[in-house]
Symmetry: C2
Amino acid sequence: MKESGRKHGALSPCAACKLLRRRCAQDCVFAPYFPADEPQKFASVHKVFGASNVNKMLQELPEHQRRDAVSSMVYEANARVRDPVYGCVGAISSLQQQINSLQTQLAVAQAEVVHMRMREFTSSSNTGAMDMAVNQDNMGESLWSC
Amino acid sequence: MKESGRKHGALSPCAACKLLRRRCAQDCVFAPYFPADEPQKFASVHKVFGASNVNKMLQELPEHQRRDAVSSMVYEANARVRDPVYGCVGAISSLQQQINSLQTQLAVAQAEVVHMRMREFTSSSNTGAMDMAVNQDNMGESLWSC
């Protein structure tokens, strides 16, 4: 596992332990995901979820899923810091509106395609009839010219 | 403000105070949003954000925004309980994929509309030319018939 920003055996604590003013143990659950050089990441999740909850949530997950869990928690926490009322639910709502708008535009465009295909079909049927008429004219003409 | 599920002056605590086993004060910040008959709402936000953080986040907001903030926190917390790795960021990612797919479908449909319009235009130009040819034939015919 990558332990970026942390020196093995050194006294340099991870961003979480630094903020919580505690000793950063060799097996610190935060250290692999909250390097000392990115203090804002932990500050956000601590403010929104609380260090104890983040610790508990990470402990309940297998190690290979913890990095993704931290990324999603940092994303959620940053969204909540930016928008304390709606957090990332605001983003969900805005994406759903975008989906509704795209679905409407798509329905309009597809209806236009169907409409144009029908018009094209009708027009080609008429052209077929006209071709026949033209051919009859030609026949008439060739009769005249005989 | 609606204080659903809570009896004024009675001893019945809100769902938050019941879970936290504390006295539910008349001005309890949780009571208007976490009625006793919906204990799961508070259980989720407590598990994910922690009662103390929820309290702090509500206190930092004007009262008219607190109901929306609670709704979005409950939504987020439920998403995190269902999916401890991605939480509602999983929903965001899936909505973004849906948007990408809709944008592609829309681009295809719109390209087809443009293509059909061009074909229709070309076809009507040709029909125009053919009409002229037919008219010339008719003129020829009328010359013959003179």
